[in-house]
Amino acid sequence: MSERLCPRDEAEVVEAVRWAVSNARTLDVAGAGSKAALGRHIQTDATLELKGLSGVTLYEPEELVLSAKAGTKVAEIEALVAASKQMLAFEPMDFGPLLGLAPGGGTLGGLIACNLAGPRRPSAGAARDHALGLRAVSGRGEAFKAGGRVVKNVTGYDLPRGLSGSYGTLAAFTELTIKVLPRPETVETLLVLGLDDAAAAGVMSAAVGSYYDVSGAAHLPAGIAARIPAVAGAGTGVTALRLEGVKPSIVHRRGKLEAMLGAHGTLSFLDEAASLGFWRAVRDVEPFALPEGGSPDRAKAVWRVSVAPMAGASVGAALREAGAACFYDWAGGLVWIEMPGSAPDTARVRAAVAGAGGGHATLIRASAAARAGEEVFQPLDPITGALISRMKNGFDPGRVLSPGRMYAGV
């Protein structure tokens, strides 16, 4: 068990990193540890736990902006903004259920560090699209800031976006400023039943490319739909199209979509309550959830794949041949894959992504041994790999911040 360092403010984060640099010790940068099982499995001399840096420092609903210390729980932020009828529009997923943990464990810093986004990603953007500014401590033991608190800003490099998805390997965030948006007044979901994966991709493409502002488009093959209570009764594949906004608009759009899609399959519908549960299940990958306390080490391996929306079905087909289960979000472009066993079968997944015209595949759930031995993230071409290594040289020359978490040697 490595040592845990638990700073309470930015100055203590600076000191902790300086200690690591001076003593050639490595730090695993963490928030509350809810995503410790993501990324390559690494061993460090100590864990830098940022959950002690907690609290919302600024929230101005009419300015659509919120700042919070990096260790603030996402659930706390979501509850706060919900009270002002606002939301984190990128719909961050909660990895708890997938990794066998209690829900609601994640921090804001972890959310941005992993650049998470849920079903609303295609229309609203990912975490990176809502990161306006940050304060952080780099592996040089220096505190710095980037970005600002206004939604429109091109002053200097866009480091808040560039550090999104860096998994703590370039800097430890201490405070983040994000954009918040109004919550839709209500939500309904139109279901098209009985489509195969390829037909579903066509229907989702038509719906998302229509005038009718579809803010979520997911397809669940029959075996997966059976695992989600809101649609389990359908007994067939379910293609779900989410409509959000003011009631008169939803009524209008639903009517138009029904006319447009009625010929493709049987139509059904989820009301607001059922819709909220359904889209949470899609967002949090509930069909592949582990029971709380379940260990990812022995569970079936899970991959997250992003390809062009119309290419998703070909990835699904290639992996179902090998006994995997899968379902689609982002109008077909995001494919969640549960392998038949605990082996990641990495070569097959990477080949399927390449065969679909390219994209990326990330091994989300696997044993520590598999995550130590496999490329968890999409492998980089040599030029990009060298570029990222040089970025690491700039931000963390001593390689003390989560070294190897994303790529060996970085």
Binding site: C6, E62, G156, G165, L181, A308, T384
Partner: protein, 498 residues
């Protein structure tokens, strides 16, 4: 040019000019290399015409391979390179260097792939912003970011500057609408980042490249997302007796959960200038005029127009007109869109500034700008992307009056410093370029800037790409790479450890 200091030209590069031009001609044959003063003159400035400089040579490549070879050659010979799209930058981002190659990307003007099913377009960087929309309009699609120069500006330039427009609040800036790029590094190496899929799964290099102002690489291909054009759009014109009341209306609309497609504010001077210019039918008795546009499905737009009208009436608006036809909607916008030429009619010259502020600071900022206007003896009008707090003050001056340009620039700098003081930023959509370069320390300290420069070092360690832009002082990468950390113990003995 007033007081702008650019990096000193390299004497050895200037001395080898003839040889360099001959070697560039071996890479880009025919008319692709321009070296006469008369032919280079059109490239001597961009949209900031106060700054002019002839380059060493203008190179107009037409293939990625040529770009790669030109950059590798420049890298091997220590020659700076300034990339340029259509030259519409409002911050001097494409200002040439005396010892530098001006790399014009205008020949990259083809759309390579239109993919409606995946809602993506792949274009070469010299395609205009509006050219992308025109290519997909027949199927009812469009490319959302709409900088006011969209008829001329290129998608490659938009990527460099992270360009915005009036619809940013709802549809985002360039960065939110770009899916991938092909880019050539200064070494000549070609990288592809992103594609028709979303996100990278890891580090967001694309997010760093968009808005990097040509300092990290030269983009040779861009993949953007396209959206279905909204079914309907309607606009409401609301006039208020004070900018405070108009600002309160903007805040109330957003607090009510409404995100308009566009929300613009004009102050009294701009309303009068626009009205005198083309008779848009604006009310002349108001202190501030709001144009609020709702777009989307018809039922939604009609519902939200009523809600906005209700909010405006509740906050004491003096004029309230909702468009009832497409002609009327276009007429509401005509005055706003003509704001800049309208000022051109009442003043021989003007500077257009581009700060962003937290919206609630608007009344304070307008009041302080009035005081500055008196102090400098120069008029200043304001148009404001009210939804996202992006302020465009237009400072009127006469370049023929000695000293007035300098006065206008000092006024502009004071405005931007004020934006930072109230919690805003130096530039919302025009970029830093050379224009705001020396103000960067007002927003970022040395450590902040050093971290940004280290990114630059990862891409371009010899600082050959667009030097003299964005950073007030470009440090040597070797100097930035040193680390000064001392001490071997945790100086905070009470830092909790477990």
């Amino acid at each position: 040019m007033s007081g702008l200091v650019m990096p000193a030209p390299k004497a050895d590069v200037l001395a080898r000019r003839a040889q360099i031009i001959a070697e560039l001609r071996a890479i880009v044959p025919g008319e692709g290399v321009i070296d006469t003063e008369a032919e280079m003159r059109p490239f001597e400035s961009d949209g900031v015409t106060a700054y002019r400089q002839l380059p060493l040579a203008v190179v107009l490549p037409s293939t990625t391979e040529q770009v790669s070879k030109v950059l590798a050659y420049a890298n091997a010979n220590g020659i700076p390179v300034v990339p340029r799209g259509a030259g519409t930058s409002l911050s001097g981002g494409a200002l040439p260097l005396e010892d530098g190659i001006l790399l014009g990307m205008g020949k990259f003007n083809r759309i390579l792939d239109i993919d409606f099913a995946n809602r993506a377009v792949v274009a070469q960087p010299g395609v205009t912003n509006l050219g992308i929309t025109h290519a997909v309009a027949h199927e009812g699609f469009y490319y959302a970011p709409d900088p006011s120069s969209q008829i001329a500006c290129t998608i490659g330039g938009n990527v460099g500057e992270n360009s915005g427009g009036v619809h940013c609040l709802k549809y985002g800036l360039t960065t939110n609408n770009v899916l991938g790029v092909e880019m050539v590094l200064i070494t000549g190496e070609i990288v592809r980042i992103g594609g028709k899929h979303l996100d990278s799964g890891g580090l967001d290099l694309l997010g760093l490249i968009v808005g990097s102002e040509g300092l990290l690489g030269v983009v040779t291909e861009v993949t953007v997302r396209i959206l279905k054009k909204p079914e309907t759009a309607r606009a409401v014109l609301l006039g208020f007796p004070s900018s405070e009341a108009a600002g309160a209306c903007v805040a109330a609309i957003i607090a009510a959960g409404v995100i308009p497609g566009g929300m613009e504010m004009m102050d009294k001077m701009m309303v009068h200038a626009a009205e005198a210019f083309l008779g848009a039918g604006y009310p002349l008795d108001v202190e501030a005029l709001l144009i609020v546009e709702l777009d989307g499905p018809e039922a939604e737009v009609n519902h939200l127009i009523d809600r906005v009208a209700e909010i405006g009436n509740g906050l004491g608006c003096m004029t309230l007109r909702a468009s009832t036809s497409e002609e009327e909607r276009v007429a509401f916008w005509a005055g706003r869109k003509a704001a800049f030429p309208a000022v051109g009619r009442i003043s021989p010259d003007y500077l257009c500034m581009d700060g962003t502020i937290p919206r609630k600071a608007l009344p304070l900022v307008l009041k302080r700008m009035e005081e500055m206007s008196e102090k400098y003896g120069l008029r200043c009008g304001n148009v404001f992307h009210a939804g996202d707090g992006n302020l465009h003050p237009l400072i009127c001056y006469d370049a023929n009056v000695p000293g007035e340009l300098e006065k206008a620039e000092a006024f502009g700098a004071d405005i931007l410093l004020l934006c930072v003081e109230v919690g805003g930023v130096l530039t919302g959509e025009h970029g830093v370029g050379v224009e705001k370069r020396d103000l960067m320390p007002s927003m970022f300290n040395e450590i902040d800037l050093a971290h940004q420069e280290r990114l630059k070092c990862a891409f371009d360690p010899e600082a050959l790409l667009n030097p003299g832009k964005v950073f007030p002082v470009l440090h040597r990468c070797a100097e930035l790479g040193r680390m000064h950390v001392s001490g071997g113990k945790l100086p905070f003995p009470d830092l909790p450890r477990f």
